[in-house]
């Protein structure tokens, strides 16, 4: 108790009373430092721990019995994107960019006069050509992802002659070739890439003049799959 007495004795002298204010203010500053560090750490933890678990299905409608796509048919890409949030921050999935490529068998077979640009994938088993059948980006109604929870969004994209005649024509050609060669035009290898932007909801949005790294702090970008180009 001696230190209490010593401390109390300082109150007698006006210039010593300032030390009480200094101690109190230092405590306030310490709280600021600790709270800010904890807030920053939890955001960084969210950046490193949030995971994207996507699943996709591609279905063909309007095909021949062998699976060749008809002119009035369609290709439907359905993506189910689940974001797992083990962090303590409240998040929201806000925008999505996606691309999907179908293996271009006619190009691989060396057919002439194929006026399209494919992405070339080379691995230990050979060289493959992929045609970009789906691509796009969109903002979605924010899907809330609570702390230590998950959020799921399901999106569907339709490729028809009316929506994109050029891409539809190529996919139709590939499916017809696959139906002829493999006996089934709808079972083709696909490569998918998706990028989702997840906003940290319980942080204020950076101002318009803020440094770009602040925006990247409040927005978590997750990717899945190879982006062929």
């Amino acid at each position: 108790m001696g230190w209490v007495v010593r401390l109390a004795s300082r109150w007698k002298y006006p210039e010593q009373r300032v030390w009480f204010l200094v101690a109190g203010w230092a405590a306030v500053l310490t709280v600021f430092v600790v709270v800010s560090s904890a807030s920053y750490s939890s955001v960084i933890l969210a950046h490193t721990s949030v995971e994207l678990a996507p699943s996709r299905t591609v279905s063909f409608r309007g095909t021949t019995s062998a699976g060749a796509l008809l002119t009035n048919g369609s290709v439907n890409l359905t993506m189910t994107l689940t974001v797992l949030n083990p962090s303590s921050r409240s998040l929201a999935l806000s925008s999505i960019a996606y691309k999907s490529w179908i293996e271009d068998l006619p190009m691989e077979a060396g057919h002439a006069n194929l006026s399209r640009t494919d992405e070339v994938v080379t691995n230990e088993t050979g060289t493959y050509y992929f045609f970009k059948a789906f691509l796009g980006s969109l903002d979605v109604v924010p899907v809330l992802i609570p702390p230590r929870g998950s959020g799921t969004v399901t999106l569907s994209f339709l490729l028809t002659r009316n929506s994109d005649a050029t891409r539809f024509g190529v996919v139709q050609e590939i499916s017809a070739y696959a139906a002829q060669i493999r006996g089934n035009g709808t079972v083709m290898p696909w490569i998918h890439w998706v990028q989702v932007a997840v906003d940290v909801r319980d942080l204020p949005a950076p101002g318009p003049d803020a440094n770009p790294f602040l925006s990247s702090l409040t927005r978590i970008v997750l990717e899945d799959g190879p982006n062929l180009g």
Partner: protein
């Protein structure tokens, strides 16, 4: 020894305030209060209150100068420690080597602001101490044994 301890303690308080202000200025979204853009008046209030209080607790000019310069060094250390705090929870987000340079790059003006406000504020505090504490006490404490 008491003088050195007092100088270091007060420099730590100055460094704490300036370090916090630098961190808040660079990462306002994680600050207290969290905001989209750093508030200059808020930073000035924090630095001003701290430096005046430190000045009021400082005994003489040479101590004050030491406090301000040591506080400047400590502010960089504290801002860096705050930016590296995610490592305490096992997260290495960026290379630790790059953090001080990053803070210095984006927080350079805040270092300057902190240093200037600390100099002005501690000088003001020291002047107030001379004016109100020591002169008022002088007739009473002449001949007293208290150190």
């Amino acid at each position: 020894m008491r003088s050195i301890t007092r100088t270091l303690v007060l420099a730590a308080v100055l460094g704490g305030a300036s370090g916090y202000v630098i961190f808040y200025g660079v990462f306002p979204v994680s600050g207290v209060p969290a905001s989209g853009e750093a508030s200059v008046p808020w930073m000035l209030v924090l630095l001003g209150i701290t430096s005046v209080l430190v000045g009021l607790s400082t005994e003489n000019l040479s101590e004050m100068i030491f406090e301000v310069f040591i506080g400047l060094l400590l502010s960089g250390a504290i801002a860096t420690a705050m930016a590296l705090s995610p490592m305490l929870v096992g997260v290495a987000f960026v290379s630790p080597d790059s953090v001080p340079a990053f803070l210095f790059h984006y927080g350079f003006l805040l270092f300057v602001l902190g240093f200037v406000v600390d100099l002005v504020g501690t000088s003001l505090g020291l002047a107030l101490r001379e004016r109100y504490f020591l002169r008022r006490r002088l007739p009473v404490s002449v001949g007293s044994e208290r150190k």
